[in-house]
Every structure is written in C-alpha cells, then in structure tokens.
C-alpha cells in the first residue's frame, strides 16, 4: 500500500508541475468564460444600421414599410435604380429592394446580403401582405390583435421532498454541461494514462519498476494519480471560474443589464436569469455535485483501465489507433445521443443508456437534472462500480503481459491470448 502511494505521488506531482497543466488550468475557465461571454457580447454589438434603397412603381408597400432599429428604408425614383445598379459600391445603400408586384421582390447588392437582413425584409413584406389579405376578408385587425395571447406554463415537480419548481431549459443546460464535461474529462485523462504507460514502455523503465512493485500496483497508481490530477484541475477550474465571474460581474454588470433590456432576446434572458434561482431549487444541487464527481471518477476508472491496456500493447502512440476506436465508440455514441436523451429523459433509450456502465457516466449526468428516481440512480452507480472492476481486471491482465512485450505489434488475437496467460 505504501508503494502504491509512492507511485500515485509521483504520477500526480510530475503532471501537476508540467507547464501544460498550469496553462490548461488557467486557460480552461478563460475559454469557458469566452464561450459564454463572447456570443452575448457580440449579440449586443454588431447591429449596424443599414440603409436599404426601395423602388416601387406605386406606394403600396413603401407606405407601409416601417424603419426598424437597424433597417432604414429610402424610396428612390426609377432613374436612380439604374445608376445604383451600374456602380453599386458608389451608392450609399446596403441593398436595393425592387418591388414589381405583390409576388416579385428582388434584393440587389454588391455583396451577399446578410441572412438577418434578408429574413427581416421577408418578414416585413409577408406581414404587409397578410394584413392586406385579412382586411380584404373583412377581419378587423384590432380584434385580431386583441386575440393574441402569450401564456407560460409553470412546471412543478412532485418529488420525494415535496413540490419544487422545475424548468426544462435550466435542466437542459445543466445536463448538457455535465455530459460534455464528463465526456471531455474521460477523454483527456484517459489518454493521459495511456501516454504515461507508453512513456514507461518506450523509455524501458517499466521492467525496473515492476521488479519492485506489482504491475497492477503500477497501473492503479498511475490511474489514481491521474484521477487526482483531474480532480485538482476541476477544483481549480471551479475556483478560478468563481473568481473570474466575480470580476466579470464587477466589470460588465451595468452594461449587461442596460443593454439586455434594449433587445428582445435580452429580455427573455433576464427573465430566465431571474427565475434561475427558483428553478435551481428544483434541482438537487448536492446530489448533482456528488453524482458528477462519482460519474466522473467511475467513468474515468472504467475507461482509463482500458486506455492503460491499450498503452501497454503498443510501442508508440501512432500504433494506438486500432485499439482506441472500440474504446471511444461508446463514448462518442453517448455524446451523440445526449440530445435525444434530453428530448425524452424518461424514455427507454435514456433508461438503458444510463444503466450501461460504458454510457451511464455521460447519459446519467444528462438525465439527472430532469429528475431520476433514487433506486435507478443507485442501480446505475452499482453497475458502474461493477463495470470498472471488470474492465480493470481484464485490463490488468493485458497490461502485465503487454508492458514486457517490446518491438512486437500486438493484434487482437494476441491480446486475447494475453488474457488467458496465467499470473
């Protein structure tokens, strides 16, 4: 036991001291923050005011087309149309809207018109036509406007702890985040274990070490050491993110609130934000956090043992492809199926995928914010523990033979033979 601690300590310290670890630890939250902040920031900016030249023989549309925040319509005479078409870049307009009749609209420009401009104009024109048709049918527009209603359904989850307010969007977001993080972590740290095994094999130190410790101790020491690296990184990310978001709040808070009010999307966002605290109450944060750490560790242990076995079977990282594929397939499948599972978090697909140990770390985390019964959660966790014990047992058998095979390209047949060798 003392020796496995020595190995864990070495594996941990070597990696934590690496420059790449420090860089990743700092860049991680920055990238995350960037992913969240940048689109919001860009959405707030980037609404250039555009002037659209408008030509129409009569005034049916032009009299009804109203300017918006970013679109400004200017009616031009027919003579000007040809001048603009001849040398568009010299004209002050972004585009030229040519209306022939109620069915033929053409938008001219010297560049590809932006999708938002095109759809906005299309929306406005069809709106005008619709109103015209309604009026012709003798429907009073004022009555029509009075009929428009917007309702919001409050979702309440009747759970074991009583009634709680639910919010599918928040659950969706949290589930998605957790799933992605687990997927990323398993991949990152799994390959880290594999690289470590390959390094020991190619540097030929492995036989020196296993004359002091059992191959299983070396493998587990490495796996656990890297797990601690992962947890450290995760913890640092949380701390750094908290610090960063505190900074961001101070720096952006005022501008955020002001500008979000100005755009419609922003309103919706602030609505979500205000209801976030009540919605979060519907999600058992403690359970979520515990489950996240559990499924991260469980999934990582299950896969990293397999990654270690792959590392032991090859001489160089370039040879790992053929063995990596079958390991990554269940991971990628879980990743792809995250969306369907979220659409129907209590469906058959979601149920089974969250029980199978190869997919449960990702899928269960995706389902969890939508509420999963305790019995199901415990069963899934127990299966995951059984799963990683099984893969570790098998991987250890391949590992202890593989690490002593030099300069031999292993095949699946060979791996199967290694599994059958006795101690």
């Amino acid at each position: 036991m003392n020796k496995i601690w020595l190995i864990i300590k070495r594996e941990y310290l070597v990696r934590v001291r690496k420059r790449s670890f420090i860089i990743m630890t700092i860049l991680g939250p920055l990238l995350m923050a960037g992913i969240i902040i940048l689109p919001t920031y860009l959405a707030m900016q980037g609404h250039d005011e555009r002037t659209i030249a408008l030509y129409e023989e009569n005034t049916f549309f032009s009299s009804k087309l109203e300017d918006t925040d970013n679109l400004h319509f200017v009616k031009i005479p027919f003579e000007e149309v040809n001048i603009i078409k001849e040398d568009f870049s010299a004209s002050p307009y972004y585009a030229l809207l040519d209306i022939k009749d109620a069915e033929n609209f053409t938008l001219y420009s010297n560049q590809q018109v932006s999708l938002s401009v095109q759809s906005e104009i299309e929306g406005k024109l069809s709106d005008i036509i619709q109103r015209q048709k309604l009026e012709l049918a003798g429907i009073d527009l004022q009555i029509l406007e009075g009929v428009t209603t917007q309702i919001e359904v409050e979702t309440i989850i009747i759970g074991e702890e009583g009634e709680t307010t639910g919010n599918a969007e928040v659950s969706f977001g949290i589930g998605f985040m957790c799933g992605i993080l687990i997927y990323m972590f398993i991949f990152m740290y799994g390959t880290m274990v594999m690289r470590g095994v390959i390094e020991e094999k190619t540097s030929r130190i492995v036989e020196v070490i296993i004359s002091s410790v059992k191959p299983f101790q070396l493998m587990m020491g490495k796996i656990l050491g890297v797990a601690l690296v992962g947890l450290t990184q995760f913890l640092l990310w949380i701390i750094l993110t908290l610090i960063l978001s505190a900074f961001a709040e101070v720096l952006f808070f005022d501008t955020l609130t002001i500008s979000t009010e100005s755009i419609a999307v922003g309103k919706e966002q602030s609505l979500i934000l205000s209801s976030l605290s009540t919605s979060l109450a519907g999600i058992n944060i403690l359970q979520l956090l515990f489950s996240f750490v559990f499924y991260f560790l469980g999934g990582y242990l299950l896969y990293s043992a397999l990654f270690a076995a792959v590392g032991s079977a090859v001489d160089a990282e370039a040879d790992t492809q053929q063995f990596i594929l079958p390991i990554t397939i269940p991971l990628i499948i879980s990743f792809i199926l995250m969306q369907p599972v979220m659409d129907n978090p209590d469906g058959v697909l979601a149920y089974w995928l969250s029980l199978i140990p190869f997919t449960s770390p990702i899928i269960m985390m995706v389902r969890l914010p939508f509420g999963v019964s305790n019995a199901e959660l415990i069963l899934s966790m127990a299966l995951l523990v059984a799963g990683f014990l099984a893969t570790t047992y098998l991987a250890a058998k391949i590992y202890r033979t593989g690490i002593l095979m030099y300069g031999k390209k292993a095949s699946y047949k060979e791996l199967w033979k290694w599994l059958t060798y006795r101690g």
Partner: protein
C-alpha cells in the same frame, strides 16, 4: 544459513503453445557469481523475471535464502533488466530516490546511500539534471546505482555490459567483484563469454527452456577437456606411437590427441626422444567453445 541463496526446482513456464521453461533446475551458491548462459530465446530472461516475481511460474518452486520465495523478498533482490531505462523528463536525484523508495528504503537512508554512490562514481553534480541531458553511459551508471542501492542479498544482471563502453565495463566489473567480496550473490546473464570466464564461479547453460549444463566453471572446463595438446617442435616428419594421434601440422605446430589411457607425460617422453620441444601446451576449451559445443550437441 543454507548454502545456496537460491534454489529453483522444476520451473515451468508456458506462453500459449510456447514452452519458455521446461522443468528448469538451478542452485546458486551463496556469495558466488553465477553466469546464466544460453542462446537468444533460451528462456534466460523468463527465468530472471520469475526470480524477480515479475511473472509467476506455471509449476515449480523457488527457495530463497532457505525459505520459499515470497513477495517481501523483492527488497532482498536487485534486478538490472536487459531492457532498462529511466524516466527521461525526471531529474536524476528525484528519480533515483523514487526508485530506491520503491524498493522499500526509508527516505533518509535512501538519500544517504545515494549520495554515497554518487560520490563514489563522482556524479554528484548530475543530481539536478534531467535524465535526457545525460549520455547513454551516464544513464547506465545511474541504472547500476539504482540496482544495488538497497544492498540486496542477490543481484541479477541481465546483459549488464551490453551498450557499455570499455571504460564503463571495467568500472562496473570491478564494482560487481567488490560486491561479491562483500558477500552478495550475483547472477548474471551474458553472451560475452570472455567476461564469463573472467568473473564467474559457476554457470548454468540453458537452451530451449532446459538446463543443459550446470556447475563450477573449472569443473565444466575439465569435463570438456579434449586431451588435445599443441606442440611446437623442430622436426618436420614426426611419427608417434599409436596412442598419440597427430591431428594437424602447420609449420611444425602440431595438434596431438592423446588417447584416454595415455598421459601428457608419456607424450612428452615420446617427443623428447625424437626432437627438441619449443613449446608444449594443453588445448583447454574456452567457454565459447563449450557453449557452442553444448548447444550443438543438445
């Protein structure tokens, strides 16, 4: 205290259809240098791995220091594998300390012993260097230190001289001899027969997973005596009684085979009568001759 540090009884190891060791028996006398010889693929490395408990035998027992070999004995064994290396990115001092502690040494003792060996080899200034900054010869010295640092009762060297330059070979050889003086038993496997003759007391020759020759080196050499004598004389037309058969003659250098009932003195007497003897020497087989002959005869 038992006389043999290690006794291997009927060791069998099979990999799938391949029989690596086929009832191998060995006895390694305490305090000796034991040469484990054999062609490539004979099973030497498998046997050494079994002694180091890296792999387990399918059948057979190992007696270490009078008792069945157990897991705790690994702290009494030092092993320098043929495929050896170090973590390239790790500093020399930190790494040797780690490896010494893995052998079960307490931190302070490991540090003290390491400093002793580093001073002895005059490599103390490498302590904070990364292994990748060292030359191959330098790394080999470190590997040697790591192997012997915990002062085991039994040292196992698999091809210790492969890749060493002559200066380092001499240094390591002298260290091995000194360790022997200190009472350590040393097993070492090699293809270099001249080093076997130089330092080994006993040998075992393994071929196709079987021990085909085992014993004290002097005795084995005696057993392989061919009773051929090299004689240089000043006569060209030599004739001898029939118990002495002339095998070859080049420039008056004769190779003479003595039949089993004759002695070298009788040959001398027969020669003295006929010519002047310039030199007279028994042709003793080298370990290399014995190795080749034993493997071929098998």
């Amino acid at each position: 205290m038992s006389e043999s540090i290690l006794i291997a009884k009927d060791i069998v190891k099979q990999y799938g259809d391949y029989l690596a060791l086929d009832y191998v028996n060995l006895e390694i006398p305490r305090g000796s240098i034991f040469g484990l010889l054999g062609p490539n693929g004979a099973g030497k490395t498998t046997l050494m791995r079994i002694i180091n408990q890296i792999i387990a035998p399918d059948y057979g027992t190992l007696i270490f220091d009078g008792k069945p070999l157990k897991r705790a004995d690994i702290s009494q064994i030092g092993y320098l594998p043929e495929e050896r290396g170090l973590y390239k990115k790790m500093k020399v001092g930190e790494q040797t300390l780690y490896l010494a502690k893995l052998k079960g040494m307490p931190h302070n003792e490991a540090l003290e012993k390491l400093k002793f060996w580093f001073k002895k080899f005059d490599i103390l200034h490498w302590w904070n260097k990364k292994v990748e900054e060292l030359s191959k010869g330098m790394a080999q010295k470190i590997q040697f230190v790591v192997t012997v640092i915990h002062e085991p009762k039994l040292l196992i060297f698999d091809e210790p001289f492969s890749g060493f330059d002559p200066i380092n070979v001499a240094i390591i050889r002298d260290e091995i001899l000194e360790l022997k003086k200190g009472g350590t038993t040393i097993i070492f496997s090699t293809h270099r027969m001249e080093s076997v003759e130089e330092i080994c007391d006993n040998i075992a020759l393994i071929n196709n997973g079987k021990t085909i020759l085992e014993g004290a080196i002097e005795k084995i050499k005696n057993d392989f005596r061919s009773n051929i004598f090299s004689v240089k004389i000043n006569t060209e037309n030599l004739t001898l009684p029939e118990q002495f058969q002339i095998i070859s003659n080049t420039d008056n250098n004769y190779q003479i085979q003595i039949s089993e009932n004759a002695t070298s003195n009788q040959l001398l007497n027969a020669l003295i009568e006929k010519c002047e003897i310039i030199s007279f020497q028994e042709k003793i087989p080298t370990m290399e001759d014995i190795f080749i002959k034993a493997v071929k005869d098998e």
